[in-house]
């Protein structure tokens, strides 16, 4: 099914990302090994000249990589009608052994790219390349993940065929089933909902605090780590909550826990705004978390709090939208999970 338009687009993006990183990694390694601003050597001057161009190219490449997550899920959903046994994206992703690993890597790369873009933007705010080594070291770490993701994605789409019989979401996200998906589906809704809202309240409070404090040039050193940890926790709790109780409320069916059926028109395509807000909001929270602590760097003393405040503000808005949308979906449901 390689000739499906979204699949072609994804393969083009992954080829560009892999090519961009293949070109960028040797430069990144030279920066990590040889960068020395105190030196006026020809090699150092060449690195200084090259870093703006390489950063610009890699920024575009990683932004494309991050956006391809949405397209990947859309492609999986749209292909489900052509695969025997698939009812939604779950069936498509489950049709080959590479689908879910590719999705997992895409999610990891989405957040990795978000952090890299935040560091790159901040680095360009300083007049002495303050984060140049760190951001290129991170890039060297992301490159194998991107290559693996491109390979898994290709193998997945190449292996898809109408003749392949797959299982639908009902068997994967089943309380009676085995595996992580089934365990998450089997979480009791009460504690899952408590974790969902408590972790949400915490990340929103910390994001708002960072926005307020950093926006006034205040210290955000400790808040950065706390916000990052809260964002990761809230993200995990949000995904678990979607599977455990939110999907059930939306489908108004106590045994239907699939997080991908939310993308269907029958449920008003609720999954698209819901997941967009969650992923983008978490990415902004992580960007704020990694930006804030660099206020202690001389050349970033002004820029780091400003960037952290801006990202935290967006995180508050987007994550706020996610929790409001989730609450609205629960309140409008005719299903009552609790007596």
């Amino acid at each position: 099914m390689l000739l499906h338009p979204p699949v072609l687009a994804l393969l083009v993006v992954s080829s560009l990302v892999t090519a961009g990183l293949a070109l960028g990694v040797p430069f990144a390694l030279r920066v990590v090994r040889h960068w020395d601003l105190a030196s006026g050597s020809e090699r150092q001057v060449r690195l200084e000249r090259g870093t703006s161009l390489v950063s610009a190219v890699l920024g575009l490449v990683l932004a494309a990589q991050a956006l391809s997550l949405g397209l990947f899920v859309f492609a999986a959903e749209s292909l489900s009608s052509q695969i025997t046994g698939a009812m939604c994206a779950t069936g498509t992703l489950n049709a080959t052994p590479f689908g879910f690993p590719a999705l997992g890597l895409k999610v990891a790369l989405f957040f990795g790219a978000a952090v890299w873009l935040a560091l790159d933007r901040l680095d360009r705010d300083g007049d002495d390349y303050p984060l140049v080594r760190g951001k290129y070291a991170l890039l060297v770490g992301l490159a194998p993940l991107a290559a693996a993701e491109a390979l898994l994605q290709f193998l997945h789409f190449a292996g898809l065929s109408p003749e392949v019989i797959t299982s639908c979401c009902g068997s994967l996200f089943s309380v009676e089933g085995a595996g992580v998906a089934a365990e998450v589906a089997g979480l009791p809704p009460g504690p899952a909902m408590a974790a969902f809202y408590l972790s949400g309240a915490l990340v929103l409070a910390l994001a708002a605090r960072t926005w307020w404090t950093a926006g006034r040039g205040g210290a955000v050193l400790g808040a950065g780590a706390a916000l990052g940890a809260a964002a990761v926790t809230a993200f995990a709790a949000a995904l678990a909550g979607v599977v455990s109780f939110l999907s059930v409320y939306v489908y108004e069916s106590p045994h239907h826990h699939c997080p991908f059926c939310l993308l269907k028109g029958g449920y008003d395509y609720l999954g698209y705004p819901l997941y967009s807000a969650l992923f983008a909001g978490t990415a902004c929270a992580l960007a704020a978390a990694v930006s804030g602590p660099f206020a202690r760097v001389r050349s970033l003393a002004l820029a780091a709090p400003r960037r952290a405040a801006r990202c935290a503000g967006w995180a508050s808005v987007l994550l706020g939208a996610f929790y409001l949308l989730s609450t609205w979906a629960v309140l409008r449901s005719h299903l009552g999970l609790f007596p």
């Binding site: 601003l37 006026g40 050597s41 020809e42 001057v45 200084e48 000249r49 703006s52 360009r124 007049d127 002495d128 390349y129």
Partner: protein
């Protein structure tokens, strides 16, 4: 203080037509001084002032302005520093044809976006100081060589730079106009500005107001190790 540390500059590096215009220049230019880079054509004078004025980056070596390492600055910081710190008078003046003298003088200040009235007053003040107020409305292509040079100096000073750089400023002027130019330089020196000139004109190199003449040949400071 401007300091150059073992600065080298190559053009077309790695190509068969590779040229090393500057070959390991180390020197210090004191603030408020008038320095002349003297040398024959091809000695690296223009390349060197381009490096000092941050118009070009060295192939190796460092340029410092005070404590600040300017040759390594990312481009957006460099553009800002160049605009605020250096004023340039090019050998061919490079006034924009079709614009009036006043508009030419005001042009470099636009990125800073000062209030228009304030900018216009500043530009008119500079033209008055340089004695060409009456040519403010004339198009730049109508000016004589001496007038064009004064307009170029006014343009170089509109952002109130700490350093004025002039490349072969008297190359196209007769003796009288060259003396006028040196008077302007004396005024700038008296204001505490640093002036850097390139020239092989004895009138400039031997002028009493010049604090230091740096002889250049083949991209090196003559007499330097």
């Amino acid at each position: 203080m401007i300091r150059l540390e073992d600065v080298r500059k190559a053009f077309h590096q790695g190509s068969p037509n590779e040229v090393w215009a500057v070959r390991g220049v180390t020197l210090t230019i004191e603030p408020g001084s008038v320095t002349v880079f003297r040398g024959p054509s091809g000695s690296g004078k223009t390349s060197l002032v381009s490096l000092v004025g941050c118009l070009a980056r060295p192939t190796s070596g460092r340029v410092r302005l005070g404590d600040r390492l300017v040759s390594a600055l990312p481009e957006k910081f460099l553009a800002e520093l160049r605009r605020r710190t250096f004023g340039f008078v090019f050998q061919q003046f490079h006034l924009v044809r079709g614009l009036s003298v006043l508009e030419n003088v005001m042009l470099p200040a636009y990125p800073e976006a000062p209030p228009y009235a304030e900018l216009r007053a500043r530009a008119e003040g500079l033209l008055g100081r340089l004695g060409i107020s009456d040519r403010a409305g004339a198009r730049s292509e109508w000016l004589s060589g001496g007038e064009a040079q004064r307009a170029a100096i006014a343009r170089a000073l509109v952002n109130d730079p700490q350093v004025l750089i002039a490349d072969e400023p008297t190359a196209n002027l007769d003796t009288e106009r060259s003396r006028d130019f040196l008077e302007i330089v004396a005024g700038l020196k008296a204001e505490g500005r640093t002036v850097i000139l390139t020239s092989h004109d004895p009138l400039v190199c031997e002028a009493p107001l010049v604090d230091r003449v740096v002889p250049l040949r083949d991209g090196r400071v003559e007499g330097a190790a």
